[in-house]
Symmetry: C2
Subunit: 339 residues, 2 copies
DNA sequence: ATGGGCTTCGAAATCGTTTTCGATACGATC
DNA sequence: GATCGTATCGAAAACGATTTCGAAGCCCAT
């Protein structure tokens, strides 16, 4: 089953490859009749251009690369959804790679994407990423790069994120305004910036409202901020601080773990302990009681990051230097039964 | 920032491009000394081959395409995880497209991937796909194709799936063996084969164990087999068939919806009504009570489908015709509190 | 008859690699 | 000295498209 090329069309019509190419691209310097004839036989022979040749010649692939820690995560799968949606709309394809939270994989994958000549790269950094030569390599090759969610402020490129600190501040302030005073925090790992930011927001909200910060009320989720972290920390919390009246958790999954423990042990939510999540994962409206949480616009983050990237790619093509944007997407408190 | 090519290395050393290329690929007909010199300057100039040129020349892209209905779904995101993992291991990149359950998008995306000259395609069909010319086009171009999960039996290509009917049969048989007699079924949409298969398994298990099938106990999930389907159907079920003692649901999410309704209305699980799910979504071990379900090997499905595809690609390269496999992955009943 | 303007076409270079097929040189053999 | 084998290299074609630039043909004006 031979694939037809420009040459086949040219031979069929007894004209040159150049004319065929120009006819198909509607160049002004080709006769109407020949244009039509070319179009007809192109359709007849079921021609479609060999993208590899086009890419080599035009030096662009209409493809972007995405590197994220994992696809198996509700947040990231929604981001991917937004990325693919926006990219497809503009005629770009998307190659996805997972760093699995490993720095060496991240570096390797950057090289793969550079070799593959993707037009641009979208990244959310792994928790382990503490050096950035690989990112600088991308920039030095003049390949547009946009970071989202897990970003690194020092890298001169566009970034899309939420204001984790502010969101946490608002959540905890809400708890305080509802009269909660002994507010615990189940915090994330030490490394990723976002978990520190949420922690900072928690502390600042307490201080701003005259509640002194109590380190013994903060519990670490060292199990990849998993469901079990919430369950186990809830257990410890009740043993060690029975007078606690509420918890602000780093993420919904942790909150749901806590809820499970409370439900099993006949601790009433929100009467005994209120629970505040983070992310607005769709399960948060399903669990009993439904979970009050912070809405994190995952899909929108994918769309916006891709918009910015594709824009920079287009500017890059015309050699227009693009200034880098830092977009902070708004979060929103979602009020449900758990508070 | 110029990217170095073979020509640059050749110029630097005063030798030909051909020799440089051969030196880098360790051809036997190039002197050891020149080989070393080439290697050294290649490293010095930070050379990495332009994949576009390589692809054009060798006619393969080391890239596979994946078309699935959606990425925002726990099952599919785990499949993707398996696909990317296996592909990366063998040095292939993965382009992901979403059909969003639309046939016209599926067709369009097939064309995109063909134009992109991917080496092979992995697909799970949309529920709307009722004609298959686009799949035949892939095969007629001699591009390896592997279908998984939502497959079409009539297409002559490899397939990876589970035995939905058998899994459903086993689940319902288990319920019967535990003494349940009034077994309801929350079934999926009419179109995808897998939901019909599960329905068939349900019916057959009943009949084989001397329970006459009662159509009034079967409820349709017409809301995309969503959480709400389970909730609403549970409500209707209790009103219309208060004597029901158990439910077999098309998928965990529907089961969890039902569980929520029962919890809210003080209907005890499993004492009043037992609930059996399908998929072993990780939430099924989190909800209260934990959900008895059928384990569906999503990650493995991605890995196996990719293995088969890459194998066919390799054979294809050597012009060895490959016979198509149909792999049926084993499922497993997971026993928890809800039954 | 000459020149200019316009339309239409195609030769050829180019993108960066891979690979075939000679070409050359040198030493060994008879 | 003629022949052969071997080691080493490079010219050139090829992959399939894009694009520049010049050529050819024709008409019209001078």
């Amino acid at each position: 089953m031979k694939v037809t090329t420009l040459k086949d069309i040219a031979n069929e019509l007894g004209i040159s490859v150049a004319t065929v190419s120009k006819a198909l691209k509607d160049y002004p310097d080709v006769n109407k009749d020949t244009k039509e004839k070319v179009l007809r036989t192109a359709r007849k022979l079921n021609y479609s251009p060999n993208q590899l040749a086009v890419n080599l010649r035009t030096k662009q692939t209409k493809t972007i690369g995405v590197i994220i820690p994992t696809t198996v995560h509700h947040f990231f799968s929604k981001v991917i959804d937004g990325i693919i949606e926006e990219a497809e709309k503009k005629g770009y394809l998307v190659i996805i790679l997972q760093s699995s939270e490993k720095l060496f994989l991240e570096k390797l994958q950057i090289n793969l994407l550079i070799d593959k000549r993707v037009d641009g790269i979208l990244m959310s950094l792994s928790n382990k990423t503490n050096e950035f030569v690989h990112l600088k390599k991308v920039l030095s090759r003049n390949i547009p790069l946009v970071l989202f969610d897990k970003i690194e402020p020092s890298i001169p490129c566009s970034k899309v994120r939420i204001d984790d600190k502010k969101a946490a501040y608002e959540a905890v302030s809400y708890l305080i305004s509802k009269g909660y005073k002994k507010i615990s925090h189940f915090r994330g790992d030490l490394n990723p910036k976002i978990s520190n930011d949420r922690f900072e927001g928690y502390k600042e909200a307490l201080e701003d409202h005259g509640i002194t910060y109590d380190a013994s009320l903060v519990y670490l989720c060292n199990n990849n901020t998993d469901f079990e972290d919430g369950y186990n920390n809830a257990k410890k919390l009740i043993q060690e601080n029975p007078e606690v009246d509420s918890i602000f958790t780093i993420t919904d999954l942790v909150a749901i773990g806590a809820i499970k423990y409370f439900n099993e042990n006949n601790i009433k939510i929100p009467n005994d302990v209120a629970v505040f999540g983070f992310s607005n994962w769709f399960m948060s409206s399903v669990v009993s009681p439904t979970l009050t949480t912070v809405h994190q616009p995952a899909h929108q983050m994918g769309v916006v990051a891709t918009e910015i990237l594709l824009n920079e790619i287009e500017l890059n093509k015309e050699n227009i230097p693009s200034l880098h944007k830092e977009v902070i997407l708004p979060t929103k408190l979602i009020f449900r039964e758990s508070c």
